[in-house]
């Protein structure tokens, strides 16, 4: 299969988030970026699917600036064959999906994988919008993807409220990936070296504008320190819940 994996980069989960003075953008000083974890699962799954069937290519694609190239290199080191970066600074999910769709329409992929959401903005929209643009079937929040025994069809399990559903989908299709799908791979030195000579192509954008404009970001209120009460201080506890926490 020729598989396209859509990758975004997100701040490392240990990052202390701060915004610029006008609260309109993330303060990027000292921020470490990683591959969005759901996208990393998508990439690993793509490699596994092709290893199992013994053929095809895995391409990773990102819509964004050159600062994302280290994560694309990492994807190549993990095993992707080539990387594409669409040179745009998207402001909302539709813009990303539209740019991706325009690129995909000129290529011949059998399968497009995305993460179920990115762990920074958590919109979870790109996969769905992309399937609409392409008019391909969508399987959302997949926890397993396997060949269905018949060419051009995949068997997919997906999470639903309180349970799990098994479906078959014919290709080409868009599948968004959820935890449990597989274990991410750690790049090794051979992979890192091989990544040096793999193609990373930069593509001009379609110039599709955003639908939304950002007004401001805000951090959640700082968490209060934990206060302890001795077992015999029930009255003081109730008082504090009433007067200070105002939850009673």
């Amino acid at each position: 299969m020729n598989i396209l994996v859509c990758l975004s980069q997100v701040p490392d989960t240990t990052t202390k988030i701060a915004f610029s003075a006008d609260n309109k953008s993330l303060n990027k000083t000292g921020v470490q970026y990683i591959i969005n974890p759901y996208d990393e699962l998508a990439l690993t799954k793509a490699l596994e699917l092709n290893e199992a069937t013994g053929g095809g290519t895995v391409t990773v694609i990102h819509v964004g600036g050159a600062d994302a190239e280290p994560v694309l290199r990492k994807a190549l080191a993990i095993g992707a064959d080539q990387a594409v970066r669409i040179e745009a600074e998207p402001l909302d999910s539709r813009q990303v999906a539209a740019e991706l769709a325009a690129y995909i329409q000129g290529q011949s992929y059998d399968l497009v994988l995305t993460g179920r959401e990115s762990i920074d903005y958590n919109c979870g929209l790109v996969g769905g919008m992309l399937s609409q643009y392409l008019d391909w079937p969508l399987v959302n929040v997949a926890t397993s993807i396997d060949p269905a025994g018949q060419a051009g069809v995949l068997a997919v399990s997906r999470d639903m409220d309180g349970g799990r559903e098994k479906v078959e989908v014919s290709l080409p299709a868009v599948i968004t990936c959820q935890k449990e799908l597989t274990e991410p791979r750690i790049p090794n030195m051979r992979g890192i070296m091989a990544a040096r000579s793999k193609p990373l192509q930069v593509v001009s954008p379609q110039g599709i504008g955003p639908d939304l404009s950002l007004l401001s970001h805000a951090l959640p209120p700082a968490r209060q320190a934990c206060r302890y009460f001795e077992a015999d201080q029930m009255d003081a506890l109730v008082e504090a819940l009433r007067q200070q926490a105002k939850v009673l």
Binding site: R73, I186, N188, M189, M193
Partner: protein, 392 residues
């Protein structure tokens, strides 16, 4: 053991001196260490056992001979990459780094540098994956700092060499498949020879009861009339510069590695000081604790810059033995001091296996002695600057 939440200090933005690829290597090895090594290392060290199952993992990640050429199954990376890998491994445990240093710098490097093409092709690919493990036999019971006085020797028996003698304090010896052994020929010249497990008269008794490098296996190499095929002699080197060339490569890795142990102690001490409350405040709010942490970070920062610069020189093939010596000595010394201060910051908790401090501190007592003792490195620097050897 607690969850490994290590983050390296980078006060001078030294990361910016690294390439994206260096950072990717660092993050990958760290990810591997956190996933596979941190959860088990304390347990193996307490039991004084080498975790053998990690050998293929270290091979797969590319920790064995990463800077040797790819055509022999190695990484083909630069010297800074090698330093970074050693740093991440030693951040976990000096014993694990020792295993990788010996394999890469003391076994694979001499075979690559001084070996024949057949020897390279026979040994290097299997050593790179860890299918074969090697050890390096230089030190003898009566010749440590003065290896030139060695008595292990071989004589030419026409179709083979006959090897006799004993080596002591040899890392990886108990399980090694091959040993790169330094021994004198009949003319008294030091030569390198590859001895394989299974050769008659060759045994590797383990050294027990170490209080240091407990997660690394150490042993002796005993040769009693061992018949070694002639093709096992390393053809392209003779004299003490053979083993010393290997030591330059390994010591360079130790300079980066010991700094890793220092950074782990610092990181743990900083986190602990911010969380531990005494007198109703985090102990990090007391001046004496801040002094300790500030001095640790200052030394670490200087060490990072020294190693980085040495790496650049090494990449350009310009690093001298004396420069490497200074960096090895400095990194190990500051790591020992930082481990001791960090242990105090952890109070009583610092002596337990809950934290890595005491393990690092004990490990570093080997690191300060092997590959040239602290004092010998000082004398190497002294010789470099005066032109006079004070140790012979």
């Amino acid at each position: 053991m607690r969850t490994d939440t290590y983050q390296h200090p980078d006060h001078y933005l030294v990361d910016e001196l690294l390439t994206d690829e260096h950072r990717l290597i660092r993050d990958s090895v760290r990810q591997y260490v956190k996933k596979e090594l941190s959860p088990i290392i304390e347990d193996y060290a307490q039991r004084a056992e080498f975790p053998k199952h990690i050998i293929p993992q270290l091979g797969a990640i590319g920790a064995f001979g990463p800077s040797l050429p790819a055509e022999y199954g190695c990484g083909g990376m630069d010297q800074i990459s090698y330093g970074i890998i050693m740093q991440e491994l030693e951040r976990c445990d000096s014993g694990i780094r020792s295993t990788a240093s010996v394999q890469g710098s003391l076994v694979m490097y001499p075979i690559y540098k001084y070996g024949s093409e057949e020897q390279r092709r026979k040994y290097l690919p299997k050593l790179a994956t860890g299918e074969w493990m090697g050890c390096f036999g230089l030190t003898e019971p009566d010749h440590g700092s003065n290896p030139g006085g060695m008595t292990t020797n071989f004589v030419d028996k026409g179709d083979h060499y006959l090897l006799n003698g004993a080596k002591m304090w040899i890392s990886n010896a108990p399980f090694a498949d091959i040993a790169v052994v330094w021994a004198k020929d009949e003319a008294g010249k030091i030569r390198g020879i590859i001895v394989e497990r299974g050769m008659e008269g060759f045994t590797t008794p383990e050294t027990h009861n170490k209080w240091s490098l407990r997660a690394s296996a150490t042993g002796e190499l005993v040769f009693s009339n061992v018949r070694v095929p002639k093709e096992n002699l390393l053809p392209n080197i003779s004299g003490l510069k053979g083993p010393l060339g290997c030591l330059d490569s390994a010591r360079y890795g130790i300079a980066w590695g010991a700094l890793g142990a220092a950074m782990d102690c610092y990181d743990s001490a900083k986190q602990y000081a911010l969380q531990r409350i005494q007198f109703d405040k985090p102990i990090a709010s007391f001046q004496l604790i801040q002094k300790k942490l500030a001095e640790m970070l200052t030394e670490i920062t200087k060490g990072q810059l020294l190693c980085w610069r040495l790496g650049v020189l090494k990449n350009e093939d310009r690093a001298t033995t004396a420069q490497i010596s200074m960096a090895k000595r400095n990194s190990v010394e500051i790591a020992l001091n930082i481990a001791r201060e960090a242990r105090q910051i952890h109070g009583g908790m610092g002596i337990t296996g809950e934290y890595p401090i005491m393990r690092h501190m004990m490990n570093l007592e080997s690191v300060v002695t092997y590959e040239g003792t602290h004092d010998i490195h000082l004398l190497i620097t002294g010789m470099d600057l005066t032109g006079i050897s004070a140790f012979r």
